[in-house]
């Protein structure tokens, strides 16, 4: 199928990751909000994790797109 699934996965998790990270940074002094999560700023930590995962997917998608472009036509249909 023509759409490399790694693009939407990467974009979506990067986007959510950025938003959680920013929220985590802005609310880092809000002890009340993180009472639930045992005092851990889970938004910041998990935002970064999602961001790393999203970025990894995007890099893989980008590399995939580059290799399929550089292979001569005919080669890619065999794949």
């Amino acid at each position: 199928m023509g759409l490399d699934l790694r693009w939407p996965i990467g974009l979506m998790f990067s986007l959510i990751g950025v938003m959680l990270t920013i929220t985590g940074l802005v609310t880092s002094s809000d002890a009340d909000m993180y009472k639930r999560s045992l005092g851990i700023n889970i938004n910041l930590i998990w935002g970064v994790v999602l961001l790393v995962f999203g970025a990894f997917m995007l890099i893989m998608a980008w590399r995939g797109a580059k290799t399929s472009q550089s292979t001569p036509p005919g080669e890619s249909t065999k794949k």
Binding site: M1, G2, L3, L5, P8, I9, L11, M12, F13, L15, I16, M19, L20, T23, G24, M33, Y34, R36, S37, L38, I40, I42, N43, I45, W46, G47, V49, L50, F53
Partner: protein, 666 residues
């Protein structure tokens, strides 16, 4: 019950997910040109995508919620559904069965049955499957709408319609490919959405060892937490060991299951029957781009599947451990009282003035129990609500003289407080509420949005998975086969899209049906259990024995279905079954009953198919069976694959991994 207040960020995360799945549907639209693009993805998808979709199609929200519930009820032994059940079956599918499914060019499992046997077997399988998927989809959507209603206070009807509309849009635009892609998205959503919740919960309970220590105390006296009837006691490992409690016999483990039922009934019959023959999952592998990818699909799926217990079963165990520590202030939520029971609760508390505490307890628990649980089938007496007498007495003392039955603002406020305390006094548990109760306990706004989106995503993709399997079976196995053969492909393409809309509408109808007639739903699921139990016997004989005939398979299936109905009619477990009037045997649990029933159905179907096949003529020639039966199919050459990618090697490694996990948690 208090609704969760979602922040703007939570809604944005939810919206992002919806926008992405709809966008994927639209992006895939331009690749759809024929009915096979729409219904079978034109066999074009890489193995890692089909592999993740393969488990994701099964990891619906009901599985997620249900496994956590079982983790709380039965402990780590629940992992047998994964380590004894799913993994060996998935390896078997990859190594032995996929070559026939994929190599036969069948577009669906019923179509394989037609090629291998005859039209009768296909018709039986496809009709049963089509009806079953619609009900499954309906049950899932009903659960979703209820959850959104309880948790967020959304309107049931709107929640149901909006979620169905989203599914309709992306399935209609992108077909099976769209469903598969969103299932992969959902896979990552679930893993990344629930992992932090499990981490926080485990940290809160004091880590793995503190948790198992707590569970050991619980196992010695489960009645202290109202998990079992008073007087029940187990060995201390009942919740924290996978095999020791089973080996001690059905009376000594909370599941009430013996080793034979577990290994043969669940591990062999039910799991192989589900993973190797259910078109919902097999369809994912059949959409792979080539034979190698199709065979790798279940193997790739098996790796995360093996580790899933950490994500889905451990939360249930944590919940029980948390409950055993009083100062954590946690309990598994009580069953939600229905509207009538709520009214009865308010009314009965107003009525008990002047009664002594015992009579008051009896009156309240029976009045509310009648609305909530109904009557006992045999005695006709109402099934009382299980409540803590001391807590109930305190609630009565607090509220009996207050205007909780008036509709003034003050009355409404007091009624809310009263119902919260009343619910807390209930000692029954709604185990399906474990996951949501942990999410609401630990997630701050932000992470909450992610976890809820994961839950929502799994419900929606569950519906999409069922609908895409349904539309393929309808279009190819019922419509093209019996109603309108020899039409143009564009016609079937159109029909595929049309039936997708119909499928969604019927799913919604099933959801309302499930909401209204809970008992009827139980019966329907039971009947499908009968239909599915013997199926694997038919496949195993068909694939590995060329002499097996269509008549043998057809009658054997009926014999198996009849046997499971008969076993269920003659045995009783937890008050279920025994509909033939006499009970020959009482199982310690419904789970044991199901496992044994499946075992009998399998054996009956196997023997009948064998005997009838020998007595009837084989109507198919060896040439026709080439590619469909093991002995008549040239061996696949997978020599140009690297050694680790060979299905047999990878499968063996996975099985070794499974054995190691079983030993670690012995």
């Amino acid at each position: 019950m208090q609704h969760i207040q979602l922040g703007p960020l939570d809604y944005i995360i939810l919206a992002i997910y919806v926008v992405f799945v709809v966008a994927i549907g639209f992006a895939l639209r331009r690749y759809l040109k024929s009915s096979s693009d729409f219904l079978t993805s034109g066999r074009s998808i890489p193995a890692w995508v089909t592999g993740l979709a393969f488990i994701s199609a099964n990891l619906g929200a009901l599985e997620l919620v249900g496994m956590a519930a079982s983790g709380a009820k039965y402990g780590i032994a629940t992992a047998h559904f994964y380590w004894v059940g799913a993994i060996p079956a998935m390896v078997f599918l990859a190594v032995f069965m996929m070559p026939f499914y994929y190599g036969s060019k069948a577009r669906s499992v019923p179509e394989y049955l037609k090629l291998r046997f005859d039209e009768r077997v296909r018709a039986l399988n496809s009709i049963a499957f089509a009806v079953m998927t619609l009900f499954a989809s309906g049950i899932s959507m009903d659960a979703l709408a209820k959850l959104l209603h309880q948790l967020l206070g959304w309107d049931y009807n709107w929640a149901l319609l909006i979620c169905s509309a989203v599914v309709l849009v992306y399935v209609l635009k992108g077909g099976l490919t769209s469903a598969i892609y969103t299932e992969v998205l959902q896979f990552f959503m679930i893993v990344l959405g629930f992992a932090p919740v499990v981490y926080l919960a485990l940290k809160d309970v004091g880590g793995w060892h503190t948790m198992t220590d707590s569970l050991k105390t619980v196992a010695l006296n489960p009645a202290a937490l109202h998990l079992k009837d008073p007087g029940t006691t187990y060995a201390d490992t009942a919740w924290s060991s996978a095999w020791k409690p089973l080996l001690a016999g059905p009376a000594n483990n909370p599941m009430g299951v013996d080793v034979f039922a577990m290994v043969f009934g669940l591990g062999f019959v039910l799991s192989f029957g589900y993973w190797c023959t259910n078109f919902l999952v097999v369809q994912r592998a059949m959409a792979a781009k080539n034979m190698g990818a199709a065979r790798r699909t279940p193997l790739i799926a098996a790796v995360p599947k093996m580790l899933f217990p950490a994500l889905v079963i451990v939360p249930g165990m944590i919940a029980v451990a948390l409950m055993s520590v009083p100062n954590k202030g946690y309990r598994i939520p009580p069953p939600i009282l229905n509207d009538k029971a709520t009214v009865a609760a308010v009314a009965s508390v107003k009525k008990v003035a002047g009664l002594d505490s015992k009579a008051a307890y009896k009156l309240i628990t029976e009045t509310v129990g009648l609305e909530q649980n109904g009557k006992d089938d045999k005695t006709g007496a109402p099934k009382p609500l299980k409540m803590d007498p001391d807590k109930l007495a305190a609630v009565v003392a607090n509220y009996a003289n207050k205007p909780i039955d008036t509709d003034t603002p003050e009355g409404k406020k007091l009624r809310g407080e009263f119902l919260d305390q009343f619910n807390d006094a209930v000692t029954d548990y709604d185990y399906n509420g474990v996951i949501t109760s942990l999410v609401t306990r630990y997630c701050p706004t932000g992470l909450m949005g992610l976890a809820l989106t994961a839950l929502l995503a799994s419900f929606m993709s569950g519906m999409a998975g069922n609908v895409t399997a349904f539309n393929t079976v309808w279009t190819y196995d019922l419509y093209q086969a019996y109603l309108a053969p020899n039409k143009t492909d564009q016609h079937y393409f159109w029909m595929g899209q049309f039936i997708t809309v119909v499928g969604i509408v019927l799913s919604i109808a099933c959801a309302y049906f499930a909401k209204k007639y809970n008992n009827a739903m139980d019966i329907i699921q039971l009947v499908f259990g009968f239909v599915n139990a013997p199926l694997f016997a038919t496949f195993v004989l068909g694939m590995f024995w060329s002499r097996c005939t269509g008549t043998g398979a057809f009658l054997g299936l009926f014999g198996g279905i009849g046997t499971s109905a008969l076993v269920h009619g003659l045995t009783v477990a937890e008050g279920k079954g025994g509909w033939l009037g006499t009970s020959l045997y009482t199982f310690p649990s419904t789970m044991a009953q199901n496992f044994w029933l499946a075992s009998f159905a399998f054996i009956a179907c196997f023997v009948l198919t064998l005997v009838i096949s020998l007595a009837t003529q084989q109507t198919k020639t060896n040439d026709q069976l080439k590619g469909l039966v093991y002995s008549l199919t040239p061996k696949l050459k997978d020599e140009n694959e690297p050694w680790y990618a060979k299905p047999a090697v990878a499968g063996t490694l996975l099985l070794i991994g499974c054995v190691i996990l079983n030993i670690i948690f012995w």
